[in-house]
């Protein structure tokens, strides 16, 4: 009996632990804002790596989120290319760009930033990181007075967009690599004062900032990986800004006094790779039927986003409204499958062709409501999907060892569309794991590389999507929302569609 009471007590404790911690009304344990003296904000990110080396992995993105990175150009909250450290640029010929470097900009250590520093920063990034090299397509840089003469290996209309990627943060390269990893010296509004790898970085306002006085004196940036924990930290007052809450977490703060919720339609597309080597998935009509069997509105509802059905979400503004996107029409899907010879002859709910049941695997690496919704929806059309949860889908993708694979990409990562269209869908694209190939499509992308006019690039983007929507090499599903919740004292947060921008010089409290 005593054992029973012991167990009962243990159970009650665990219930309290599980349910109780959400209770508190968020006591006013504000971390900063002491008698108006110092302006300080604590922010929690979902990602912070062991190093702050901007030209490696995604560290530059963490710096950019903390307002500690500046690049030649930036993409503003309306997704427009905006000058920062470069104040003007021109194309001399298809391979050569003349980029004028802003004068009077100082690094946070007081040193003047010269075109020579910019050259060294970009060359350093290209040397260190494959992604940087792909983005820069750098042949050579020469300093010519106040200008850089930048030559690309091939005509590349996306260059000035791509140089906004925080990989190309302009830093004082006289610092040693070890020091850069602990906190690079940049020209940004905030400078890193201390960094505990993978845990927390402390920043203060850059006294030598060229763009005016930053809105805060100090900024603490923490890593809190778990969505729930991040939401709770905000409730308890431990942090002032929580970046990227999941829909469930975000709902708790909606309309709640004391908090502001910023919902930014994301450029992140949730999609499924299809392996065109699969006997059924190689058939374009079958892929079309699958695309038709998915009710994206229902999926968006449980996922907390918007139906997408093409490569670029509505927020990106690349022909979303004028395209005949992948859409839901179950009857049409069934008809199409039947016309391809699929029928459920044994009454088990799964269609067969030549005695082979339509059963495919779907590999996932993250638990979201999407896989099970997809599974249930495709089952309506008689397609059986087996969900296979793996630690890392990349390995199987590289080997071509998959039927379907769920993933999400930020489309238009630097505000330009070429990279994702090229890497995912051209015959030799680096991310074309399903081996899709259409010469007409490849031709459009080749044309895009040679095109420097923004309007025409946009038209080509739409043309490329039209071809993809005929061939359906992927299942385009839904796009999410980036939700940022802050205490109401935090002011001037902007809705940046690119989620690697967050704190800028205007944010204050």
């Amino acid at each position: 009996m005593r054992k029973m009471f012991g167990l009962l007590a243990a159970f009650l404790c665990s219930v309290l632990l599980l349910t109780g911690c959400g209770g508190g009304s968020g006591g006013e344990k504000t971390t900063g804002k002491k008698e108006g003296a110092e302006k300080h904000i604590t922010m929690a990110l979902f990602w912070l790596d062991k190093s702050l080396e901007p030209a490696e992995e995604w560290n530059g993105w963490s710096l950019a989120r903390a307002g500690a990175s500046e690049t030649l150009t930036t993409i503003n909250d309306k997704l427009e290319l905006t000058p920062v450290l470069a104040d003007k640029w021109e194309n001399i010929d298809p391979l050569t760009w003349k980029i004028h470097i802003r004068k009077g900009v100082k690094f946070s250590n007081g040193k003047e930033m010269t075109p020579e520093d910019v050259k060294k920063s970009i060359e350093r990034a290209v040397k260190r990181d494959k992604r940087a090299a792909d983005n820069a397509k750098l042949d050579s840089i020469k300093v010519e007075g106040e200008n850089l003469i930048y030559k690309t290996k091939e005509p590349y209309g996306a260059l000035m967009y791509n140089l906004s990627e925080p990989l190309f943060t302009i830093i004082d390269t006289s610092q040693s690599d070890a020091d850069i990893a602990k906190g690079p010296i940049t020209t940004a509004p905030y400078m890193v004062t201390s960094f505990q790898p993978g845990e927390v970085m402390e920043l203060k306002a850059n006294p030598n900032y060229w763009g005016g006085t930053p809105g805060l004196d100090r900024l603490t940036v923490k890593l809190i990986k778990d969505d729930n924990t991040r939401a709770m930290a905000l409730q308890s007052g431990e942090i002032d800004i929580a970046q990227k809450l999941d829909p469930a977490g975000a709902k708790m703060f909606q309309g709640k006094e004391g908090f502001n919720t910023l919902e930014v339609p994301s450029l992140r597309l949730e999609f499924a790779f299809l392996n065109l080597q699969h006997p059924f998935l190689g058939n374009a009509n079958v892929r079309k039927a699958m695309a038709l069997a998915i009710d994206r509105d229902a999926m968006a509802k449980v996922f907390g986003g918007e139906a997408c059905g093409t490569v670029f979400p509505a927020a990106a503004g690349y022909g979303f409204d004028q395209l005949d996107k992948q859409h839901f029409d179950l009857a049409e899907a069934k008809k199409l499958l039947a016309s391809e010879g699929f029928a459920d002859t044994n009454g088990d709910g799964v269609v067969e062709k030549d005695g082979q049941p339509f059963e495919v695997s779907l590999q996932i690496f993250k638990r979201t409501p999407i896989p099970e919704t997809l599974q249930a929806q495709l089952a309506q059309a008689g397609i059986k999907v087996n969900i296979n949860f793996v630690e890392d889908t990349q390995d199987n993708l590289n080997k071509g060892d998959f039927d379907m694979s769920l993933n999400s990409y930020i489309t238009a990562v630097t505000g330009d569309t070429q990279r994702i269209l090229e890497q995912n869908f051209t015959t030799n694209g680096a991310d074309n794991y399903g081996k899709y190939s259409n010469p007409a499509y490849d031709e459009v992308i080749a044309k895009m590389s040679r095109e420097f006019d923004q309007k025409k690039r946009k038209d080509l983007t739409i043309e490329a999507q039209k071809i993809l929507l005929q061939d359906n090499p992927y299942l385009f599903l839904v796009s999410g929302k980036t939700v940022i919740v802050s205490k109401s004292g935090v002011k001037n947060l902007k809705k940046y569609p690119l989620d690697y921008y967050l704190i800028d010089k205007d944010v204050t409290n």
């Binding site: 665990s14 729930n228 449980v302 793996v390």
Partner: protein, 275 residues
């Protein structure tokens, strides 16, 4: 056998516990017949309802009937646990008895091998196996089975050792009793009661282990409902819909405690000291 029957029938607490366990388990085994809804049909418009007439325990994040999921999940969990326990009891006991009866270097070698395996924490072994063979209910079950039978082998082995050299076995052997008869008539009846006690108490442990692995995403794969997996699915909704965590958690707790109590009582009933 008759003496045991008498013991069982004479112990009211044991009978009550047994009855409760049978009722509990049959409720979940009958779930396909009595569940109000389809456990895997999604209704995005009805997500996270607290309760309604159609959905007595509300719905989960995909709008699936939570009561039906709990019932089907219970069936999956209990059947799987039961299968694991029966299998490891049978296999482990058989191996232990054989080793003890065989004697000599074979016994020695076998038992030292078991010691070696036991020296490695079972959770680590299971995780290694699951990561090699891929996850899913089948591989997880296999992994649990392949590390858990050892306990039973050791129990059975030491029980047989206790009477292997005693008079009645010697006499039976001298009287020319065949191996099978020796096994079923003389050895098993002396091993079985204790093993049953161990198995009953172990049921809760195995249920917990299976749920833990599913909670970590290594066991049941969607859309199969399973209590541990349901817990892991409910985790993000801890604050919005705490009942999603409460129900499966409570059911796991209830079954673990019920089977532990039954096992404890069974031990007391069968304990010769008390008689």
């Amino acid at each position: 056998m008759n003496i045991w029957m008498k013991k069982f029938m004479g112990d009211r607490l044991f009978l009550i516990l047994l009855l409760l366990n049978v009722v509990l388990v049959s409720f979940f085994l009958l779930s396909p017949g009595i569940a109000p809804n389809d456990p895997i049909e999604i209704h995005p418009d009805l997500a996270l309802l607290e309760y309604s007439d159609d959905y007595p325990l509300g719905t989960d994040q995909l709008g699936r009937c939570y009561l039906s999921r709990l019932m089907y999940g219970g069936k999956a969990t209990l059947v799987m646990t039961f299968g694991i326990v029966v299998f490891i009891t049978a296999a482990g006991t058989a191996a232990g008895i054989m080793a003890a009866l065989a004697g000599g270097w074979a016994e020695h070698f076998f038992m030292r091998f078991l010691d070696t395996v036991l020296a490695i924490p079972s959770m680590v072994l299971i995780l290694v196996m699951v990561s090699i063979f891929g996850n899913g209910l089948v591989t997880t079950t296999f992994a649990i089975v392949s590390v858990s039978w050892i306990t039973y082998a050791r129990t059975a082995h030491s029980l047989v050792l206790g009477f292997r050299d005693s008079g009645f076995i010697q006499q039976a052997r001298m009287g020319g009793v065949g191996f099978l008869r020796l096994l079923f008539r003389y050895v098993l009846p002396n091993v079985f009661p204790q093993v049953i006690v161990v198995a009953t108490q172990d049921f809760g442990d195995k249920l917990l282990l299976l749920s833990t692995l599913s909670l970590l995403g290594l066991g049941a794969q969607p859309p199969t409902p399973e209590w541990g997996y349901m817990l892991s699915e409910a985790k993000p909704f801890m604050q919005q819909a705490p009942w999603l965590l409460f129900y499966p958690g409570f059911l796991i707790f209830l079954h673990v405690i019920m089977f532990n109590l039954l096992g404890d009582r069974l031990q007391e009933v069968l304990d010769p000291k008390e008689a």
